[in-house]
Amino acid sequence: MASLITCPHCGTRPKEEFSIRGAAAPRRPSPAARDEVWHRYVYVRDNPKGRYEEYWHHAAGCRRWLVVDRDNLTHEVFGVTDATDHLTAEAGE
């Protein structure tokens, strides 16, 4: 993945078209959640070695936020989904 990402909307594109935000797993807590939950959301990271979901923004393409499901040790990419679709799928599970 380090080199190419296959955007679900635009096809295969080079890394320079994207900007990378970080872990996609943390979910923004409800406004009423406890301080501890908010702290964890903003500051604590699972940071696993291996399979990892990460937010990439296709800034030079469709401008959609994507969830890139990848292995951060081998750099293999398992899938790339639109972040909104990812949320919907997650909610459906």
Partner: protein, 183 residues
């Protein structure tokens, strides 16, 4: 006091460097195209896409899900706006001045563009009629294949000078020339 306001193209000065006729590989800049950003609202993407396909005198360029550029070199802005705004679920922003439209054509066009974009432009992969946003000469652009050896590039106005310089620099090897389309 009535104002007589002159419209000026951003590449006016850049293009001065090119004199004489067009070579086989040529870059033409369209002086006053009509361009609109078309946004489909939630749940309306399919309908909007269908309606856009039927628009007259308007070429539709894909930007991303629910977003297109509507381009016309023949119709006026009002006419284009009227057609587009009749589509339910659409928001429009005019970009006729915010975007610069260039057409690049010739036998070496793919070899020139290979220095400018990362996308595979082999006709089996990026076919005639296809368009997409992509990085071109370090700038976010919309690229469309309009013929076997013809592509149209739309870039933000503020970057147009930079992109023009780089395109022509990368075209030197293939004797690329440039002019306004009406020149």
């Amino acid at each position: 006091m009535a104002l007589n306001l002159l419209h000026r193209h951003v590449l006016e000065d850049h293009i001065l460097g090119f004199h004489g006729g067009a070579n086989p590989n040529h870059l033409s800049v369209v002086r006053r195209p009509v361009i609109f950003s078309v946004l489909a609202h939630a749940g309306r993407e399919g309908q909007v896409r269908e309606a856009l396909a039927k628009a007259e005198d308007i070429a539709i360029r894909a930007c991303g899900p629910s977003e297109w550029l509507a381009v016309s070199q023949t119709a006026g802005a009002e006419h284009v706006a009227a057609q587009l705004s009749a589509i339910p679920g659409v928001s429009l922003a005019e970009q006729s001045d915010g975007k610069v439209l260039m057409a690049i054509a010739g036998p070496s066009v793919r070899r020139i563009l290979a220095k400018c974009v990362a996308v595979d432009l082999h006709p089996d992969v990026f076919a005639e009629g296809q368009s997409a946003n992509m990085m071109c000469c370090h700038v976010v652009a919309n690229l469309a294949r309009t013929g076997a050896d013809t592509f149209e590039i739309i870039v933000p106005r503020s970057f147009a000078g930079s992109v023009f310089e780089e395109l022509t620099e990368m075209g030197r090897e293939h004797a690329l020339t440039a002019s306004f389309l009406d020149a």
